[in-house]
């Protein structure tokens, strides 16, 4: 069979006829315009949910973890599921920012700010759970190595302690990374905003940034080093989260495949969440020129790939369970697929493995509505993946006498739903007060930013023609 290869030029990152100034306005005007009514409604709703979260937490602390559906075999329920789920979602931002940056994927500039913000807020939501799920939250500080009159130290053998360090490091580094990216854009806002208070606030946030190229020089270096640091970090965080399970000896948890499998799952769910939010925002804020269908397609391809990786991991779990001939391993996987939690297992499979396969079709992966639906389906599926891993393994482990079923209570649900309140509260504040696209970066990625695209004589903008090489039709 002979195939015809065709060179497809990279589509333009920014659609429409934009120059620096118009892009600048397009993005930052959102922050400078008077607050739209819709925003207030959304913010109010988010606040309502946030109060649900705070109320649930207050009741939890007052009454004890017993208000959740936890029981003797199933000591970890929704709290840990939600933690892993949110952390997973929180992987997309840094992944987009750091890994795609290192791979010189310039299209990331349209979404990286946005995705990083999502990361920060998702990790905040995630971080709540390990803290509140403990029995005695008032002594939670014992997990930190603080000198004390008991002369006791935390246990560095515990995956939970690794979690403490991993998640807090991840949050801190993501925050720094995000902030570093924001500084030039804060300067832009500082220079555009009219109000005195706004000038002061953005002025402080911009730290006196003035676009000096001597600064840019260090700045780019720092950005690259951060990207280089964040890449192993982002991989390590979900690896360590997966250690919570993989280091244990519970069948179904005690699996070496967990680290890559969790990371793939995290990228999968993170991209889906970015898509969900992005599709809404580009519509509302009219950013279709920046967050283009090409972006959506690229992200869908990643979803397709990671979804298939996750599916492969599901298969491998079964294979290894069979291949190991460990009866407890074999049993747990059979129980997952056919036992009392089979419903959850098959929701997981259909959402995570089957639904992304539609993206083999170019038409579907460029269809915004369809993508939106799939992105939500994927996140439901990923929640169930964590549910299946956490609950089924605990529910039916070694001693059949101790098997027990887990059912959530209303408080499990309310706490989970409440975290969306936290997430969207922060996300809406972000949309309102910070540029949701990295302005400086997207300017740098425009063809106008390239000095070679200017006429050497007149200094006028004259973009180079892209040469499309002749396809080699004779090759076999």
């Amino acid at each position: 069979m002979s195939k015809t290869y065709e060179y497809v030029p990279e589509p333009a990152l920014v659609k429409g006829n934009h120059d620096f100034s118009s892009i600048n306005s397009l993005i930052t005007d959102i922050n400078l315009r008077p607050t739209p009514k819709g925003w207030y409604i959304a913010f109010g709703l988010s606040n309502l949910l946030l109060f649900v979260l705070l109320g649930s937490i207050a009741y939890l602390i007052w009454e004890g973890t017993g208000i959740w559906g936890l029981n003797q075999p199933v000591g970890w329920g929704w709290a840990i599921i939600n933690f892993v789920w949110w952390v997973g979602i929180g992987h997309a931002g840094t992944l987009i920012s750091a890994i795609l940056f290192l791979f010189r994927q310039d299209w990331r500039t349209a979404i990286n700010r946005f995705a990083e913000a999502m990361t920060i807020f998702a990790v905040m939501c995630a971080g709540i759970f390990p803290a509140i799920h403990v029995g005695r939250i008032w002594v939670i500080y014992w997990v930190f190595p603080i000198p004390n009159s008991m002369v006791m130290w935390p246990n560095f053998n515990s995956p939970l302690l690794w979690d403490v360090f991993a998640v807090s490091t991840y949050f801190t580094v993501s925050l720094l990374f995000w902030y570093v990216g924001l500084v030039p854009d804060f300067a832009t806002l500082r220079d555009r905003i009219k109000s005195k208070v706004g000038k002061m606030v953005y002025g402080v946030a911009a730290l006196g940034w003035r676009g000096s190229n001597r600064h840019w020089w260090n700045y780019e270096k720092a950005y690259m080093i951060l990207a280089g640091l964040a890449t192993p970090l982002v991989l390590s965080v979900h690896t360590i989260v997966s250690f919570d399970f993989a280091v244990s000896i519970i069948p179904g948890w005690h699996t070496t495949i967990f680290p890559p499998y969790f990371v793939a799952g995290a990228v999968f769910s993170g991209f889906a969440m970015v898509l969900t939010l992005m599709i809404i925002c580009r519509k509302i804020y009219g950013l279709e020129d920046i967050m283009t269908v090409d972006h959506i397609e690229k992200m869908n391809l990643i979803i397709l790939v990671t979804g298939s990786m996750v599916g492969f991991a599901y298969l491998m779990e079964f294979f290894i369970a069979w291949y190991s001939q460990v009866e407890y391993e074999k049993a747990i996987f059979i129980i997952r697929a056919t036992g009392p939690y089979a419903w959850a297992y098959w929701i997981m499979i259909s959402c995570n493995v089957i639904s992304p396969q539609f993206f083999w079709s170019k038409k579907l992966r460029r269809n915004v509505t369809f993508t939106f639906i799939i992105s939500i389906v994927v996140n439901i599926g990923m929640w169930f993946e964590r549910f299946v891993i956490t609950v089924t393994s605990l529910s039916t482990d070694y001693l059949p006498s101790s098997w027990g079923y887990f059912s959530p209570t209303i408080w499990d649900v309310l706490t989970y739903v409440g975290t969306f309140g936290l997430f969207f509260t922060f996300f809406l504040l972000f949309l309102r007060f910070m540029p949701m696209v990295a302005v400086a970066e997207i300017k740098g990625a425009m063809p106008q930013a390239d000095p070679h695209n200017y006429d050497p004589e007149t200094g006028d903008y004259s973009p180079q023609e892209i040469e499309i090489p002749e396809p080699n039709k004779e090759s076999v």
Binding site: I61, G135, M152, N155, S158, L160, S248, L399, S401, G404
Partner: protein, 1017 residues
Amino acid sequence: MSDQKTNDTTYWKSLNELAKNKEYQKYAEREFPEDASELTDQVSRRSFLRVMGASIALAGFASCRKPMQKILPYSRQPEEQVLGVPNFYATSMPFQDTVAGLLIENSEGRPSKVEGNEQHPSTRGKTSIYHQAAILGMYDPDRSRNPQLAGEQVSYSDFAEFAASHFAETDRNILFISDASSSPTRHRLKTDIQSRFPNSQWVTHEPFSDDNRVEGTNLAFGQRLRTVNHFDEANIVVSFDDDFMTPSGHKNSVEAAWQFSMARNVNAVEDTMSRLYSIENSYSITGSMADHRLRLKSSEIEAMIFALAARLSQDLNGLDAYTDYSNSMSGHEMVETLAGELIANRSNTILTAGTGYSPAVHATISALNSALGNIGTTVTLHNLPFRDNVDNTTAFAEAVSQAQAGAFDTVVILGTNPVFTAAADLQFADAISNVETKIHLSEYVDETSRACDWHVNQAHFMEAWGDGYAYTGQRSIIQPQIAPLFEGVSDIELLHTILTGESGSGYDLVQNTWRNVLSGNFEREWERVLHDGIDDNSDGFSNASVSIQSGFASQIIPMLETSITDRIEITIKPDPTLFDGRYANNGWLQELPDPMTKITWDNVALMSPSTARSLGLPAERDFASDEVPMVRIDTGDGAIEIAAWVQPGHADDSITLYAGYGRNTIGRVADGVGVNIYPLRTTGAPYYRTADISAVDRMYEIACTQDHNSIEGRDMVRAATLDEYRENPNFSTYESVHGYEVPGIDAAERESDDYLAKGGPISLFDEQYGPDYQPQWGMAIDLNTCFGCGVCTIACQAENNIPVVGKREVSRRRIMHWIRTDRYYEGDEDNPGVYHQPVPCMHCELAPCEQVCPVAATVHSEDGMNQMTYNRCIGTRYCANNCPFKVRRFNFFNYSDEYLTTGDDPEIIQMAMNPEVTIRFRGVMEKCSYCVQRVNRAKIETRKATGSRKPEDGTVKTACQQACPANAISFGDLTDRNSVVSQHKMNERNYVMLEEINVRPRTSYLAKLRNPNPELS
């Protein structure tokens, strides 16, 4: 405990004085306040406040101080009291017409734990669940606190005043209804009463007694005798529905279980085992120990006994009555098997039938035992000195109908609760409403109290003087351990008041009786009996010489009619944990899972899977739901609706119901729990009868502690027959079970016979072990003798201050028991094999729980224990998740606080707590500690006495070990090669659960053996 061996001199006098001492009564607020303050989570609570309200923290550093605590020393120090060192006093616990010898641990002058008395044959240092739970029963704040007249609170002197005038008329027609009692003092007073009140009548009422067995001996031998089975002497035991190892099935279950386990104890291939045949209708724990078990409806069991007698009459003398008899069970395979076995093992067998069966059945059993030559060897018969020579059941029924007819002007009811428990057709409440004056003595204001004018609050046996005979006849004194908490009086004190019109001292009453019993220096002898807890001059009841009475045949033949029908039968038994309902307000017993069904806080209708199907009910319970369907049971006399429960191995077309539930306004624990089944019970058919059963379209929530019944073919429990064991003594090793070795096990380690050196599979780490200078504790549990009674659970609960969490929390699978008994079914659902496996913390050498705790709250001690440090725990529950044995328990709520601050006077129930063990607060993990408080005390005492760090073998007993009637649990130092536990660990049958995951449990199991009849296999 070491103290128990030496049995410190019993300072009964000072104890008695102490009991009267005002100071003593106030001790709860007094002596060492840490006992009480231990019960609160002050530290965490203060921290909590600091978190919750910044204002408190800001109020100044003064708020960081602990609240002021008071110390109240004695004003006059009692001599024997060393603070913090518990004393042990002997006493006995009455149960119907027996007593069991106990030792009570006294902590700073209050009883806090019950142990068996090693010198007393009824317990031999062991206990049953009723004994263990008695301590909570005494500290029950719901007990009646004062006498009542028509529901109004009065004082006992009011009653005495009334009694003085009322009983001055000695010609009154008085009916005395009492519970069964073996007390010589009560017997003496009863005789006095009968002579003082010539028109009085005295009957005994016990809803579940062995009266029919006594009537059986009367039928067979013409004497009312007590049957004592010596299970340790027999080769073959045939139990017809006799659950003799359960305290609800047999008054002397502790001794019976001990004897049975002695006869089944196998330490080497040469040892022998007795063989147990069990023919029963529901699955009992005795049945679960059977080598052959046959399930039959109760009516068929009865028929089979007769058929067996008929079959044996061909070969044996003395069974002429049965020669021509036959019924539908004649020729049954089992009858033939049993006939063969019994004849082959003549005079070495025991036949026994459940107490519920008719006198004819028991007469047949007696005749069989007699014909087989068992009487005098494995079965002995005894005269009861305190028993009237009447049939209690009929006497009671007759007395009630006389009362109905207005024959009595006064009724005095002692202890028993006939309004609740008497057969429905007697209409007892109605009957006594025709009596003018009704007096009731009881611990609770119960159903009968409310039907009476006078209620007198009864003292608990630990609060009052008394006496009694053990099942086999040893005389014992009941010595109070504390002054009556609610100023209750004992039965003898009440009788004294009736006789004299004055309040009497139980102490004097008992002494007066014993003056005639003890020979020699009375004061010295009396002290000796008190100290020992037993009068060792009383060897037991004398043996009665018996022979089948003439005319037996003519009497028995008309009684041999059987009533087998196609209809569904109901069989009514006392509840294994609540008995007839008397323990219904005891939280420990309510929450103790039923040994077979593992149900707590409820009774159910037990039925076989196929019966369930025939009623249109599912034969499998939904794993995801606690809801079970209900059935309606209608006998024509009464009807109830009750949850249906499928019991694999139950006889088809038969339903078993447990009595004792469905009580109201008794107390916070008992009220509204379960269904009262007494309305289904009649004089004519107290044990079984046919009934109409129909499914009801309603579901009911059941709190069951084990949701999965099958062992799923896993190797948690390993078993073999005796022959298989002899052929391959190593049958229980991993290699024998799986056909290959534990992966990665090192050859050198495999060869080693030193248990401690014997590590496990190769490891990537240099492992840490406990240092040599410390003892290394370990436990072995013999599954061959464990019969799943659950006393270990209650003993542990009592010792370790484990809270009761209630039905709702149990149904959410949050029960707190540190040691549970797993029960697995194996084989087909119709007649599966049953295995019991007690599971405490395994104290793994390489404990998976430890490495995952982020704050090092659970780590290893130098003496090899897996420590749980409550005050370090932050409650991530990771350790519990990572425990492959799921033995860790989490305080999801502030269970202890709820449990210990119930009611208006929480200090009462707090007094039942062990001062040595921290009360756990909300949000911390807990689990079996190998009774570290006992271990540490022994280590400190040994070190003070000898300077050695290693207590001698036997000095430390864990609570579960000490309570176990079957001696199934051994515990000790593994560095001592001669310790019992080391010996057990070196036994071939020793194995650990989940060996292949290399956690190296310190708790191991000895595999189970069965001894089936080779001809049947």
